[in-house]
Symmetry: C2
Subunit: 193 residues, 2 copies
DNA sequence: CGAGTAGGTAAGCGCTTGCTTAGCATGCCA
DNA sequence: TGGCATGCTAAGCAAGCGCTTACCTACTCG
């Protein structure tokens, strides 16, 4: 089972192509050739180009939601939980900036039905962060007037990463860690009582 | 001179279309028909579709840079200057979210030469903010370890606005002002000594 | 009045797009 | 051995793309 299926190879090719050139600018021929297959092969495994985008988008959102949920579930003081959630969320976006870029910028290219499904996951992510802030305020650890707005702003730090962050080889690990820690620091300052 | 020239009408049509559907998904026929003209009219006033994008992108970046520069030039204490710069920058992005979306997300669609020109303005904006932070640190008003990273994070708040903010009628003014003030608050907290 | 120019259009060229169709090789099971 | 499912491809269709060409009209100015 170590072999990557043809289906999965096409998904990975699509991630590369979409991240590099955007959804509309990517041709199905491009995806196929990156996967080392003929143009028609795309349609053996996937219904349409949009279907491929939806798959990438859905899995990407699920992974990101999983990251924050786990960070929160690990428990600790409000400050610890917030720091871990922000750190891991930014870290994930740095490590998966290609998927992140697709997920964030190609949202409008989805069909209305698919968009609605993805939007639900998006709201779930915001919800997790709002709960963290609410909890911290209740316990007197945070002083936040506008919880919804602040939650959105904190997420903006991580999400906007994918706009400018470009992995470039060996120093990645270090750079990603530096940014993630910075974001944890900044988030903590934003809500400090 | 109150009449809008045909050239300008095409630019406005392009802004609408690019913001709504993205650069590659927008057809020159779409731009022309939004401007109430025939497809060929686009090429009477502009060299190419990319030329139109470059025009929008350049003017957008110039306006945004102008906003922060003016906010800084107005002077005051480090905190006052930072708050005004962040407030006005976010405010501009809320008021011009369509242009902002084009400017931020269609950067890669520019030709290499045009991209370089726009990139210079981008760096100039970051530079202004870094100077504000440096100055505040020097005068003991701010405590910031990573000035470059923090400057980028603060700008992320405003820029990420264009991803999710959608103007919707009468309450715009109020909403935009609320967000801009929130961002000024958060930026101040991020750097507070 | 007649020439030049600015601002526009109808038609269409050459190419690329997403996707389909018809058929072929391979491996599994009766 | 034969039948059939699976996974793939060569070829190509209809539609749409950015952009050009050839032409038309209205206005300005000597």
């Amino acid at each position: 089972m170590a072999t990557v299926t043809a289906r999965e190879r096409l998904v990975q090719a699509a991630v590369e192509a979409f991240a590099e050139k955007g959804f509309t600018a990517t041709t199905t021929r491009d995806i196929a050739s990156r996967a080392g297959m003929s143009p028609a092969a795309v349609y053996v495994h996937h219904d349409s180009k949009e279907d491929l985008l939806f798959h990438v988008s859905l899995e990407g959102h699920r992974a990101a939601l999983g990251v924050v949920r786990e960070a929160v579930a690990a428990g600790g003081s409000p400050v610890e939980v917030l720091r871990r959630a922000v750190h891991d969320f930014s870290r994930w976006h740095a490590a998966n900036s290609r998927v992140g870029r697709i997920v964030q910028y190609e949202f409008d290219a989805l069909t209305p039905e698919h968009r609605a499904e993805v939007a639900a996951l998006r709201r779930a992510i915001e919800h997790v962060l709002r709960d963290v802030l609410d909890d911290g305020v209740r316990r007197g650890a945070f002083a936040v007037a506008d919880v919804a707005g602040t939650a959105r702003a904190i997420l903006s730090l991580s999400i906007d990463l994918v706009r400018w962050f470009r992995p470039r080889g060996s120093e990645d690990e270090h750079t990603a860690e530096t940014i993630a820690s910075l974001h944890a620091d900044l988030a903590e300052r934003m809500v400090a009582a």
